[in-house]
């Protein structure tokens, strides 16, 4: 049976009509077999355009529709709804892209018109073979997984949990809190980072809907939007979480004293059994197996002897949690880059050259110097401090640094400089900048305060080299506005190191089949209109894993991300894509090629009985799980016998399009 097809050619104002003779296209396509109605209109996507389509469907009893317009990326959903409201199956619609693939790329109207006719002809040939399709539905697991327990992950989890959905936070460190927990003060208000963060950490711990898996890692993720399945490795702490009271006695008595303390960036030491900081959540001790004498040599056992709760368990093994989730949030954060490729700044030669994050710890009351600013080399009070901005940021792509602006350095440097001058008015503070970028709310005022009220010397220029000599740091720099070369004898130098995504981000992106950019930041689905979703359905992005951002921006994005997750979890069922793979069991020889290429694990095999010339025979044939198949088409290409087909994009339909183009 031939379909009764209607063709609708859109002008898109002058977007199409300027280089395509739309009237001629409609006229020519009207002569095609099966076409009973053809017309053109200025804006098919407008309400009156849609009404035109709907009334034509009714008036001419159309069974198929071809719309020659913009890319299906733009309005396929609109037009599917349009035809559906007029009583047609939404999959009886085909769109011929005569804008992006035709009018926009041709200058000559004759060529453009010819091509538009050919594209329309192909769509008509395809729609002749279209069959009504119905999308399957899948249930939604109403639980979210948040990977990363920094401020981004905490905020996203809190918002989702408060909406009533259970959330699991997986954090690789023994405590949640992330980088913000290491900061001293926050710009531009100078409130104490711990004072504003730790209540949120406690909230997360106390919120009934949140489960925190600290010291854990996501091992594997399978499934698809609404139906993910994750395997979480809970690394052995050698401490029974259910018994440890967090009293901290073990962390005081452990005889292994010389373990570099990562919370203070290695500037002081902790014991082999430790709690990262006083407000850690969960407040449970962890034994560092690399340094514990009992675990390394089988001798010691001090912590076990003194633990009143009997929580120490040297035989503890990694355990695994398996859980279903409807949505996954990536909040893996950042770290400062290594300074090893910037040896002109003498970072490896002098302990008095520090990164900004190290400086945060040196200024912090819980830091290695208990908040008194002292030179790491000799413990004296520094008088002259030099801050160097853009260390490793805004570099060409020669592998030394990062091509992007790290965004937070201008502001935290202004904060550091201001705090120095405030606490120690006898200091001389220099900031070498390329540009001061302070576009946030109250940001420029903050930086100006550092310069105007606190007398920080802002110098436009870079530091060229630093040479440690006689207990001083000889800083050679340029002052571009004065066109001078400066030589400063500094006591301390603070490098604003660029930030980079957490190094585990790449393997996680592979696990989640989520795209990232060349700098390993996760890519959002649309840079303007879908900033917190990844291109992979059901995977959402929160915080600096998506790009450099400060705390206010991170928190806003984290809440936006939570809103998107709630929108998904609120649905009971998700309507799937009906364009999924379908095997022809009579042609399938059970070779497993399709199963091997399927990225979603949607294909299984079943033994079925078939009638043959020699009587009934059992054969192994492929079966597609319609809830899991995403319609990527990999199996249809892999199938050596041509048994696998994609609904809505069958081999016959595609060949018909090719034939129509070549006619």
């Amino acid at each position: 049976m031939m379909h009764r097809i209607g063709v609708f050619v859109c002008w898109c104002g002058s977007n199409i009509a300027a280089t395509v003779d739309v009237k001629r296209v409609a006229e020519e396509l009207g002569k095609q077999p099966g076409v009973v109605f053809a017309t053109d209109y200025q804006y098919m996507c407008s309400q009156s355009g849609q009404e035109l389509i709907q009334s034509a469907i009714k008036e001419h009893a159309l069974t198929g529709v071809v719309i020659c317009s913009c890319s299906p990326q733009m309005h396929e959903t609109t037009f599917r709804r349009t035809v559906s409201k007029a009583g047609l199956n939404p999959y009886m619609l085909e769109i011929a892209n005569i804008r992006e693939q035709c009018s926009w790329i041709h200058k000559d109207k004759e060529t453009g018109t010819e091509k538009a006719i050919v594209l329309g002809r192909a769509a008509i040939a395809k729609v002749q073979l279209n069959a009504p399709l119905k999308a399957g539905e899948t249930p939604v697991t109403k639980r979210a997984l948040v990977i990363g327990g920094g401020i981004a992950g905490i905020q996203t989890a809190l918002d989702i949990a408060e909406a009533g959905y259970p959330v699991d936070i997986v954090e690789s460190q023994p405590t949640i809190g992330g980088k913000m927990a290491q900061l001293d003060k926050t710009f531009p208000t100078l409130d104490c980072a711990a004072c504003i963060l730790t209540p949120r950490m406690v909230d997360a711990n106390q919120q009934e809907n949140i489960t925190i898996y600290a010291y854990s890692e996501v091992e594997a993720v399978t499934g698809f939007v609404g139906n993910f399945h994750a395997k979480i490795r809970r690394k052995a702490r050698y401490v029974d979480e259910t018994k440890c009271t967090g009293c901290g006695l073990c962390t005081e008595k452990c005889p292994q004293k010389n373990v570099p303390n990562e919370f203070n960036l290695g500037m002081d030491h902790r014991r082999a059994v430790y709690i990262p900081f006083a407000q850690a959540v969960p407040k449970i001790a962890t034994i560092d197996a690399n340094y514990c004498k009992m675990l390394q040599e089988g001798k010691c056992g001090v912590c076990s002897k003194i633990c009143a709760a009997g929580a120490i368990d040297y035989k503890q093994q990694d355990t695994f949690v398996e859980q279903d989730y409807g949505a996954i949030v990536v909040a893996t954060g950042f770290r400062p880059i290594s300074m090893e490729k910037f040896d002109e700044y003498a970072y490896s030669q002098s302990p008095d050259v520090v990164t900004s994050l190290e400086f945060e710890r040196l200024m912090n009351a819980a830091g290695p110097t208990s908040g008194t600013l002292l030179r790491p080399s000799d413990g004296t009070h520094p008088k002259t401090l030099v801050f160097v901005q853009c260390v490793g940021s805004r570099c060409s792509d020669d592998g030394r640094g990062k091509p992007y602006c790290s965004k937070i350095c201008c502001m935290y440097t202004a904060k550091h400089a201001m705090l120095c001058r405030e606490k120690y008015p006898d200091t001389d503070v220099y900031v070498f900048y390329i540009d001061v970028r302070a576009p946030g709310k109250n940001f420029d005022e903050f930086y100006r305060r550092a310069a105007e009220e606190y007398g920080v010397h802002y110098i436009k220029g870079q530091v060229g080299k630093i040479v440690p000599e006689d207990g001083k740091l000889k800083v050679q720099a340029s002052d571009l506005l004065a066109n001078e070369q400066l030589h400063i004898d500094a006591d301390m130098v603070i490098l604003a190191a660029a930030i980079e995504p957490n190094p585990t981000a790449r393997s996680l992106a592979t696990m989640l089949t989520t795209p990232m950019d060349t700098n390993d930041f996760f890519t959002e689905a649309h840079p303007k209109l879908r900033p917190v979703e990844s291109a992979t359905a059901g995977i959402f992005l929160s915080g600096t894993c998506q790009g450099p951002k400060d705390i206010p921006e991170t928190v806003s994005q984290a809440s936006a991300c939570a809103a998107k997750v709630m929108g998904l979890l609120h649905k009971d069922r998700l309507v799937g894509n009906p364009c999924i793979a379908q095997p022809d069991e009579l042609m399938c020889n059970g070779c497993s090629s399709c199963e091997k290429v399927c990225p979603y694990g949607a294909i299984t095999y079943a033994d079925k009985e078939f009638r043959t010339f020699e009587g009934m025979k059992v054969r192994r044939v492929a079966q597609v799980n319609p809830a899991v198949c995403q319609g990527c088409g990999a199996c249809t290409v892999a199938c050596p016998s041509g048994a696998m087909d994609l609904k809505g994009f069958s081999n016959r339909q595609i060949m018909a399009e090719v034939d129509a183009i070549c006619k």
Binding site: E344, C390, R394, C395, S396, D398, R400, G401, I434, K460, G461, Q462, V463, G464, K465, Q476, A477, S478, D479, L480, N483, Q485, L486
Partner: protein, 128 residues
């Protein structure tokens, strides 16, 4: 050489795109010959970008650049100021009507203290 050709010659022979410069001044900060140059490395890059090549060619400072390549090594944008300076020096050397060495001049240059090889190579280099 015409002005445009000069700019092209300097850019071509150096392989440097001065537009990549973000004016951070790290080249000037790192330059050990800073005092000896009336135009400093960052100005140099800027002058090439603005096409002030002739002004640079007349500068004595270009001959004081040590070619230590510290600016090339440390430039965050991979601009290579030292290579630009070398290109300007080459432009001076290759100017028509300058630095010519004619065969008849050679006998008067012959000096017992000067290696003959130097005269020969100078002749090869500057005869055109």
């Amino acid at each position: 050489m015409k002005q445009e050709n000069l700019i092209d010659a300097v850019r071509d022979s150096s392989g440097v795109n001065p537009r990549k410069c973000m004016k951070c001044g790290k080249c000037t900060a790192t330059c050990p010959a800073f005092e000896a140059m009336e135009y400093h490395p960052h100005q140099f890059v800027d002058m090439v970008e603005r096409g002030k090549i002739e002004q640079l060619m007349q500068s004595k400072g270009i001959w004081n650049c040590l070619s230590c390549f510290a600016c090339v090594e440390r430039c965050p944008r991979n601009v290579k100021p030292a290579q630009l300076i070398e290109a300007v020096r080459l432009a001076v050397i290759r100017q028509q009507g300058m630095n010519h060495l004619k065969p008849e001049q050679i006998p008067e240059l012959l000096n017992p203290d000067l290696p003959q090889q130097a005269i020969t190579s100078a002749f090869r280099k500057y005869r055109k």
